[in-house]
Symmetry: C4
């Protein structure tokens, strides 16, 4: 008696949110105020001061592209969405929209251990969203996955997604208390890892 | 002589608006200003002060997901849109976009009875939008509903949607004048009710 | 040798812009600052002062819905888009995005004749965009319009769209210099006119 | 063993980003503050002072429409997307979202050589994104391009896209140090060039 979901409409909602999050990230890069409007030197200094925000922006842009890529791949394995998957997807989207706030916080206070750690916690909750989504799929594989999806491979992918998702982000969040730059490296590293094609095959 | 509407284009417009509203809700969570940029303690206090905004954000995120879900289900029952349904849908979208403003107002003034009550009034007008949409459908069922839609069940669903929609929100708006926290509980409760799958079946 | 345009992708771009414009209109309604955060009286006064912005918002929301409706109907008559129509559509979208700025200006300075007049000028340029789009279609009807579209009726619709579009908005813009409230009435009246179904049939 | 990408979902993500960038450009045109709210004269002066922002907005709006047009045409030549093209597309989208920031910077500091030059550098990086995308396509034409795409013509188009893209923008960026208005002319000229239909045929 489960409701039918139009997979393409939920994909459209998700893609819309990904597109907006990707575009709004740049809004944190506000035009700096300078006293001498025509001074190239003063503007250069002001733009240089934006560097932590710029780095945070690049990391988050790549991260949201990776989220899109994993979301895209995961949905291509589904035969249909049920009510539970709809809400697990909504949970994932919620934390994805929170990345914009975490990016702004980390960009504004790039040397504040809590701010940098906060980003990792939001990242971990987002990545946990993927894990929760996958667990539902593999609990009812015949109902939710397409017939030709390799069930054993899917379960292996879920285990990978725990290590390379919540655990890796929590490591970054912990390292922020040692040295914020280390956490930046971990967050950037997680995103970069998924840029290489073999990574996606393992998920 | 009624105009033909491409149902999928109106769905795309609606989904676009839902996606943007969901994403913009987080913009109300502005990065707090702190005097000592590297102080984790001061940032922790500043983030803690955002708690009412955070709660308002979560309630509204779930509420807009529920709106999406009900919209999705309602549109799946339609054979076509007529001019009147287009404008009833536009009315619903109008109040949905207003939820962002009401959320910001309630998040900023979480102990102000008017601010918390205002949220409920906007919610009631949004929910009334669903009722007005349904009334049109059931006034012309053979024209607007798909042949296999149970007409009697649809009318029962409309009655449910009056109680669980405008009336529930107005109860919340009234309780805000007794104790704002009670209204928060009602608004969150309405959203949570629709997270459970049986609720959607009854609509 | 004219390029082929995927009509559905241009529709998707346009619908995306309409959805974003409709949602961003509400952002002009900023949460007012009040000195006593728990005072319902002070908040009521502050919200009441937003009334001109609220009226401007409603007028613009209905106006953009009407733009969507006319756009939707016009595109349903096209067999294909050529390069010229792509850019005439882009021009229309440009002035549609400008409506947000004009709304904010009119909402902030509701008694300023220039501000209220400015809205009408932007509206006239947007409506002129529709006229320019239609003129291209009727200059090459066999190439651009679907075979079953009534050519004579289309040309009549273009004449209507001049009177009810640029001319009506310019009348409003002129009346703003007599009395701003009159212009509000004209702008609202233009939008309301198209809410009635017969109006769309004539376009 | 390359992953399959749903071309239409990547198009939808890209179109969503184009739509949002196009709409957000206008947000840089903030309503000016005037001391006498009812003074048409003061408002006229304040609006006139927005002229550089207005010019920057128009140039960027046309530029993003041209990006959309080139993107649209390029994707119509593809048989499928591979992992590398996905990321080259993401790189292109990244620089497209950066155009909003560059527009705001140039609009705020229209006489500042660095600000005007910065716009050209962002434009060059965006245009380089198209070149990198095309190079991948022509390195694996049988895998990525549709069978009826003229391979030699595609390679000619790539050479055009280097000259009319990164090189033209870098010329503008260099001219900004001579006279900012010259750079405005180059940036506007690049966009205008692609408004004429023959230009698109050559790409």
């Amino acid at each position: 008696v489960d409701e039918q979901f139009a997979k393409n409409r939920v994909e459209a909602l998700s893609d819309g949110i990904f597109a907006i999050v990707l575009t709004l990230l740049v809004l944190e890069l506000r035009v700096p105020h300078i006293d001498a409007p025509n001074s190239a030197d003063e503007l250069a200094t002001a733009l240089w001061d934006l560097m932590p925000k710029f780095v945070a922006w690049v990391i988050s842009f790549v991260t949201v592209c990776v989220i899109y890529l994993n979301h895209h791949r995961l949905f291509s394995l589904l035969s249909r969405l049920d009510h539970s998957l709809f809400w697990r997807n909504a949970n994932l989207l919620f934390w994805t929209t929170a990345i914009g706030f975490a990016t702004a916080l980390m960009g504004d206070y790039a040397s504040n251990r809590l701010a940098v750690s906060f980003y990792g916690i939001v990242g971990a909750l987002m990545a946990l969203g993927f894990v929760l989504f996958r667990l539902r799929c593999q609990a009812r594989p015949d109902d939710l996955l397409l017939p030709d999806v390799d069930r054993a491979g899917f379960r292996v992918g879920t285990r990978y997604s725990i290590v390379l998702g919540p655990i890796a982000y929590l490591v970054g969040a912990a390292l922020a208390w040692v040295l914020p730059a280390l956490a930046f490296a971990v967050y950037g590293g997680i995103a970069l890892y998924f840029v290489f094609p073999h990574a996606v095959r393992n998920r």
